[in-house]
């Protein structure tokens, strides 16, 4: 979190034009995407692309040699630039040697990365962006707000003013007239330019070919009309063959804009040529006579060396991760403060630009995994963000307050209990009669800005369940209950319901008292030591009575127990083995109930409608999607689906603490979708989600109730406290 970032987030959230345009654009992309993918098997296609990118990056040294050889044979000049400065220097020198005064540029992320335009400007060379959206953003002196719609944050009036100023003619706000004026103005720039610059979406080694994709046609003109053409290309863009390239665009445009194919795909192999004039084959026939390809490293080879971050090079820059990101949907791209946006942006920024900036970008991540699920090359962005935070914490150390909290409190369960108990006394003046906290004193009040908070329980779940500390010796299934902190300190009653419902269903539930915080807060902040220590505490506590199952009510904790403990213990094989056994026993509440009572008949309809919110870590983390619905239906409830049931509620990551205003905006969409179903009860199998949804609905004075499945089922099983 940084003050500058908080400011930018606030600005974006309060920019009405941006908000309206963004909602419309993302809705449109989602809609056309469905059409574009109709009849295609996304899974097998994305596996294919993943394989292509894995092979390309693995064989990169050979592919680079082949590309250089073929491109040079075709007459292009290939230059390998070590870093941004080197690349800029090459282009600048070339421009000066050719006495270039004016350049047209087609969209290039790498161009932005190395700040090519700015450097050329400084040397007195004019540069015009030729994508209309980019041009508008350039005229405004800003950064693009969105990959597909760089200028979506601008109103028609603002665009009219910018284009009027650029063309020196007073233009009205008729979109068609503005487009005509823009086309005419840009058309002239291609004719006047001495040099054209573009990026490349793909570079093909077998023929030394560059592939440039545009929808507007600007790419064709910028690469053809000026006499010198320069392409700046990241090494990771190189693939082996035309077939590989074809497989990539089959997904690229569908992901980017919901189109089956971009309008223009240019394959360029060397400079134009002709043998029409007797005497010789000449270059520069109706197109550039010189083609320069600048292959840029700038941190990419280092990324390739890293086992943890290599997969960021598989990114095909389609923007899907942004289009599905709840944070991006709230604030768009300008808040990130650098070229690469969203989750993948944090990783790319760290390697290609500046680690401090990357930290800022990463701080916006909810960890909701929507990007991972939708990525056409299956990049595990959330995992890399966690690793990035860990290595930053290692390098720079955590802020003292966090370190103190993680190492001195979180790590020692009795101390945490004590702190919470003190908190439960201190909170008293602010707790309303219904046990909600709606305002807090001083700076703490930001915590209650987006949601009302539940009061801390007077005594934690651990104390309530003292009698359940060990299972009796019966032949019933033994179920250890891992509660997590939210159940323990905020909703102990829900923990009670879990135990009772399980007992009613014939299991033998018990509460291992040695359990502690799962360690996720420390782990995701980068404090691996604390996380590992807590992992060992929990592994030991949860294996003690050899349970058949371990039931959880917080999918975030479950994911930690199930996946991250394995990652944390890789260096210690014996702990790793114990973590593996633990992982196999973890179940979500609904999942377990169905497993324990597979033959229970469907109950008659209760004439009660409920809707179900999918917690990120349950659906995308462990693939539990149908089970909670099945269980509700079996118990006689009618499940009404809300729109985007699996979109994050806004509680994830540290966003709820660091950027409450942002969390509120994400929550708003969720609550709107819940209210649109018209139901009176929303069910979710995640207690942090319960906290967030209850708190948000309370702020709205809504009557809609939020319950964990266990709580609802307790009522149907006639269980009381």
């Amino acid at each position: 979190m940084s003050r500058a970032m908080t400011k930018r987030v606030h600005k974006a959230l309060t920019d009405e034009n941006l908000q309206t345009a963004l909602t419309r654009l993302l809705g449109l992309i989602k809609f056309v995407r469905q059409i574009a993918f109709a009849g295609l098997d996304f899974d097998s296609l994305s596996h294919e692309i993943r394989r292509i990118k894995e092979n390309s990056i693995a064989n990169l040294p050979q592919l680079v040699e082949q590309f250089k050889l073929q491109a040079t044979k075709a007459g292009a000049v290939v230059y390998e630039a070590e870093d941004a400065e080197d690349a800029v220097k090459y282009v600048l020198k070339l421009a000066q040697e050719r006495k270039v005064k004016y350049i047209v540029k087609s969209k290039s992320m790498l161009g932005e990365e190395i700040e090519l335009r700015e450097h050329l400007h400084k040397a007195g060379i004019g540069v015009t962006e030729t994508d209309i959206g980019e041009w508008i953003v350039q005229l405004a002196g800003e950064r693009p707000a969105h990959l597909v719609g760089p200028a979506i944050h601008k109103t028609i009036e603002q665009v009219a003013e910018l284009i009027s100023k650029a063309t020196g003619r007073e233009l009205g706000t008729d979109p068609q007239a503005l487009l005509d004026a823009a086309r005419r103005a840009l058309r002239q720039t291609y004719i006047d330019a001495d040099m054209g610059i573009s990026g490349a979406n793909i570079a093909i080694a077998e023929t030394g070919t560059l592939v440039v994709v545009t929808n507007e046609g600007n790419g064709c003109m910028a690469t053809t009309l000026p006499p010198v053409y320069v392409a700046v290309v990241g090494y990771e863009k190189i693939v082996s063959s035309w077939r590989d390239a074809a497989a990539i665009f089959r997904l690229l445009s569908r992901c980017t804009a919901g189109m089956k194919m971009p309008v223009y795909v240019s394959h360029i192999t060397g400079p134009s040529r002709t043998d029409a004039i007797p005497g010789a084959v000449l270059r520069g026939a109706g197109g550039p006579g010189e083609v320069h390809i600048v292959l840029v490293d700038n941190g990419r080879w280092q990324m390739r060396e890293s086992d943890e971050f290599r997969e960021a090079l598989y990114c095909i820059k389609c923007g899907t991760c942004l289009n599905v990101c709840p944070v991006f949907a709230s604030v768009a791209g300008q808040v990130y403060g650098y070229v690469y946006q969203g989750g993948i942006g944090a990783i790319l920024t760290a390697f290609l630009h500046d680690v401090d900036k990357a930290e800022e970008v990463a701080s916006l991540c909810l960890g909701c995994m929507a990007c991972k699920e939708a990525c056409p090359t299956r990049i595990d962005i959330p995992r890399m963000i966690t690793r990035l935070r860990a290595s930053l914490a290692e390098e720079k150390g955590l802020p003292w307050l966090n370190r103190m909290v993680y190492r001195s409190i979180l790590k020692h369960q009795p101390r945490l209990d004590k702190v919470i108990r003190i908190g439960s006394y201190l909170q008293q003046p602010f707790v309303d009669a219904d046990l909600m906290i709606r305002r807090l004193p001083g700076p703490l009040n930001t915590l209650t800005q987006a949601i009302s908070l539940p009061a801390l329980a007077r005594s934690p779940l651990r104390d309530m369940l003292k009698d359940y500390s060990s299972p009796r010796l019966t032949d019933k299934s033994r179920v250890a209950f891992y509660s997590g902190c939210v159940a323990n300190y905020a909703y102990p009653e829900i923990g009670g319901y879990v135990m009772k419902v399980l007992a009613k269903c014939g299991a033998q539930p018990y509460y291992p008292t040695g359990q502690a915080c799962c360690g996720a807060p420390a782990y995701f902040a980068g404090d691996v030591d604390t996380a590992l220590s807590l992992a060992k505490t929990n592994i030991a506590a949860l294996e003690e009575m050899k349970p058949d199952y371990i039931v959880t009510v917080c999918p975030g904790c479950a994911a930690m127990l199930q996946r991250e403990y394995l990652n944390l213990t890789t260096a210690e094989p014996r702990w790793n083995q114990r973590a593996r056994v633990l992982a196999g026993r973890i179940r979500d509440f609904s999942q377990l109930l169905l497993e324990l009572t597979p033959s229970m008949p469907k109950k008659p309809s209760r004439n009660q409608k409920v809707t179900y919110h999918d917690p990120c870590h349950l659906k995308r983390g462990t693939g539990v999607f149908n089970e909670p619905r099945q269980l509700l239906q079996r118990e006689g409830f009618e499940v009404i689906e809300m729109a985007d049931s699996d979109a994050c509620c806004g509680f994830g990551g540290h966003v709820v603490l660091s950027y409450p205003e942002l969390s509120k905006s994400i929550l708003k969409r969720k609550l709107d979708n819940i209210e649109a179903t018209g139901v009176e009860t929303v069910i979710t199998n995640c207690l942090p989600c319960v906290l967030q949804l209850r708190g948000g609905l309370d702020k709205r004075h809504s009557r809609i109730k939020v319950m964990h499945s266990a709580e609802l089922l307790a009522s149907t099983f006639e269980i009381t406290q």
């Binding site: 654009l25 073929q70 044979k73 075709a74 994508d131 209309i132 508008i136 597909v148 719609g149 760089p150 200028a151 601008k154 665009v159 979109p175 503005l178 487009l179 823009a182 086309r183 840009l186 058309r187 023929t207 030394g208 070919t209 929808n215 507007e216 046609g217 600007n218 064709c220 003109m221 053809t224 063959s241 035309w242 077939r243 074809a246 189109m259 089956k260 194919m261 971009p262 309008v263 223009y264 795909v265 240019s266 394959h267 360029i268 192999t269 134009s272 040529r273 002709t274 043998d275 029409a276 004039i277 007797p278 005497g279 010789a280 084959v281 520069g284 026939a285 109706g286 197109g287 550039p288």
Partner: protein, 243 residues
């Protein structure tokens, strides 16, 4: 036309139309010419530029348009020089003959230096493309999967003809429609006309439908920076395919 080709053509038509192109199946050379002429007249076309196209030459598009008073400029350098000479080039022309033709066309006395001649020709031909109302191309390959045209050439003007004029017409031989994108490379390898030593033609341009933009707030508008209309003429009757 065999059933397999017919299926591909049908798929190509559906996809290209969906992407915003206007597709016309021409039953004969005359039919194709009439379609282009009618289109040109309806859209008030005064000048057209043409890429090298065997199919267009076979069906005599240029003659047809010229007869109706529409000026048609060849943009392929060899074809253009031929047009200046008033006859197909034999390949045995000397530089001096070419120098005379280009000097006359550009109204400047040029040195008989290949570079000078090429620069002058480039200037003239690019200007034709900038001024023209209609561009006429041939696609050597078309992709059924996506309704995509594949236009191939070594000269940059093959692309300028396709993007600069406000109307773009592409002639495709039905036999050259391939099922999917992965088939393009094999089709390209079998094309003739590469200059010695070349592995791949310099420009292979895929065009799918009509260009649009959503960059001006308010609506998705047709015609971004390329042509306002994309017309595709599928030559049904043509017997000879290049692939």
């Amino acid at each position: 036309m065999c059933a397999q080709v017919a299926g591909l053509v049908e798929q190509f038509e559906a996809e290209a139309s969906r992407a915003g192109a206007v597709v016309y199946e021409a039953s004969s050379a005359e039919d194709a010419c009439n379609y282009i002429l009618k289109l040109a007249q309806e859209r008030d076309v005064k000048t057209a530029v043409k890429s090298k196209s065997r199919v267009a030459d076979e069906v005599k598009v240029k003659k047809h348009l010229e007869k109706a008073g529409i000026e048609v400029k060849e943009t392929d350098l060899k074809e253009w020089i031929g047009q200046l000479a008033g006859e197909k080039l034999t390949g045995r022309e000397t530089m001096w003959q070419v120098e005379k033709l280009i000097s006359k066309a550009t109204g400047k006395k040029l040195d008989p230096d290949p570079r000078v001649l090429l620069n002058a020709a480039n200037g003239a031909i690019k200007q034709y493309c900038i001024d023209a109302d209609m561009g006429i191309s041939e696609a050597d390959v078309a992709i059924a999967e996506t309704g995509t045209l594949v236009i191939v050439g070594n000269e940059g003007v093959t692309r300028l003809v396709a993007v600069l004029p406000r109307i773009h017409v592409t002639i495709v031989n039905c036999q050259n429609v391939v099922p999917i994108m992965e088939d393009v490379i094999a089709a390209l390898k079998s094309l003739r006309g590469n200059i010695a030593g070349q592995v791949m033609p310099v420009y292979v341009t895929y065009i799918t439908g009509r260009n649009t933009t959503a960059d001006i707030p308010g609506a998705v508008l047709a015609r971004s920076q390329g042509p306002a209309e994309e017309h595709i003429i599928l030559m049904k009757a043509a017997k000879r395919g290049s692939a």
